[in-house]
Symmetry: C2
Subunit: 299 residues, 2 copies
């Protein structure tokens, strides 16, 4: 795809996902007061919707249809948002800004922020298990995708990465530890997005294997680039102060390997990720372009 | 059933549920350090396992088998435990003791307590969507039960009740508000336990209707009795200091109606709940006895 075409695709899919999120999440004025406002505040704080777009692109790569996986794609963004709200809490990263706006607990207080995160996580599973929303997909397949997602974001996945991240603050860690943090805290949800799109569209075993290699590589690359942007990104584009990793004493790839080597590692991962997609031919062009965007992005 | 028989049944089911929880939840030493220890600490802090027992008893009442619903029953207890961990946090109820032991954040710190709660909630949905654990139940039925559970514990259910509870602290509220808090914060999960047992065992429409009436009534009765025990219970039996509702400025039934009237309300609810079970004859004896225990309990 040309640069213009992929930009158009990403914008179109973002709109589709935004509309779905708006349709699915209870309105601001739904009782009880505050909680849905808080949930929507963070959902609509300006994400790129990369994870749900990966669900859709992965589904389309194996011959599925975007409308069949849309509720699940929305659920992935909802899970991502809950992790951000809880990560920002004073007891965890204690961040005041996110995507250029005050963090959830800064606006709604800690109690509502904790409960909004809980409610979003719960709501994601409500969407993923709704037998009416995805009625073109068989219940056994939906169940298997929801189960895959639960595994990816639990204590052996996303949350496990967050635990080690917190426990490693201010410590010198080895390559193994930082790789664990990045592949779990960030990589697990990206990989699961790719996997679940293909599961829901009943990709075959060889297709699944190729997509798993791809998802694993771009997931790690994404977080390495995130680390680099936190050091030398554009604050206006990122919507947050740079240098927060240093302030929070986070372990990062640039701290361990330097910026140049980290950049090369990310490029090599993306290259390898793209090379896993050969069997799909032009059907995987979108996934290739998304991978390229992962390393070239400036926000 | 005689008093001795129901005690034996409850003890037997508690052991069954405890064994399942021990089998399903990752071991203490599973990487990363701390998180599974924290999850297990609160899971095995001495609950009565009433909600999972309701799942089992409800399933058996409509002709189901306990082994078929056991993973789901365990998941319900896991959800209950996550709500306790998050409710106890300093930003919410700020409680130091629960079931006679220091609360999760007092032992593991706030960050791990928040993440342990998140991990338990996620793990509950992992269990509820595991296609291998409940392979005697059809995927469509499992999906429908998991969806029911998600609705019950989201922002329009359990979490909604918790939001209004927090927002009502120290205020004078009307009967409508306190009924909303109790039916949502506590009642929703009890009702969902009863419902899901019957959904998983494919109870018919009339059976579902009867069980819903029963579940709604005993759920509210349970919380009214909880309010009374917080005023005049035995601290040793309860495992926590009494008077915490007054200290936390919680709205309670005794505060609004007095102890005697509250006790009568709980009794009337349980009576009505039991009367909904007529169609089941002796098959619903366990559910009747559990309802009686709900009002007569001293812990």
């Amino acid at each position: 795809m040309s640069g213009l075409e992929i930009e158009k695709y990403l914008a179109e899919m973002k709109e589709l996902v935004d509309d779905a999120l708006d349709k699915y999440i209870p309105p601001v004025n739904e009782f009880p007061p505050g909680i849905h406002e808080s949930m929507r505040y963070s959902i609509f704080a300006g994400g790129k919707r990369l994870r749900p777009i990966l669900v859709i692109a992965s589904a389309e790569t194996v011959g599925g249809r975007r409308e069949d996986v849309l509720p699940f794609a929305a659920a992935v963004e909802i899970i991502h948002t809950y992790t951000l709200i809880h990560d920002d809490l004073p007891a965890l990263d204690n961040d005041d800004f996110r995507r250029g706006k005050p963090t959830n607990h800064k606006v709604f207080g800690e109690a509502i922020a904790i409960l909004a995160g809980d409610a979003l996580l719960t709501y994601a599973f409500q969407l993923m298990t709704d037998p009416n929303l995805m009625n073109t997909v068989s219940p056994a397949v939906i169940l298997s995708a929801a189960n895959e997602m639960a595994k990816a974001v639990g204590s052996l996945g996303t949350i496990g990465g967050q635990v080690v991240d917190i426990q490693s603050e201010g410590k010198e860690v080895d390559k193994e530890t930082i790789e664990y943090i990045h592949t779990h805290k960030t990589g697990a949800l990206i990989l699961a997005s790719v996997k679940c799109g293909a599961i829901l569209s009943e990709g075959n075993e060889a297709e699944m294997e190729a997509l798993i290699s791809y998802g694993r590589d771009i997931g790690l690359a994404f977080q390495i680039v995130d680390d680099i942007l936190d050091l030398e990104g554009d604050e206006d584009k990122l919507g947050k102060a740079i240098g927060s990793d240093i302030e929070n004493k986070k372990v990062t790839y640039p701290a361990l390997f330097g910026i140049e080597e980290s950049r090369q590692m990310a490029s090599r991962l993306v290259e390898r990720g793209i090379s896993s997609l050969k069997m799909f031919g032009s059907r995987a062009d979108v996934l290739r372009d998304i991978a390229d965007f992962f390393v070239s992005r400036s926000f």
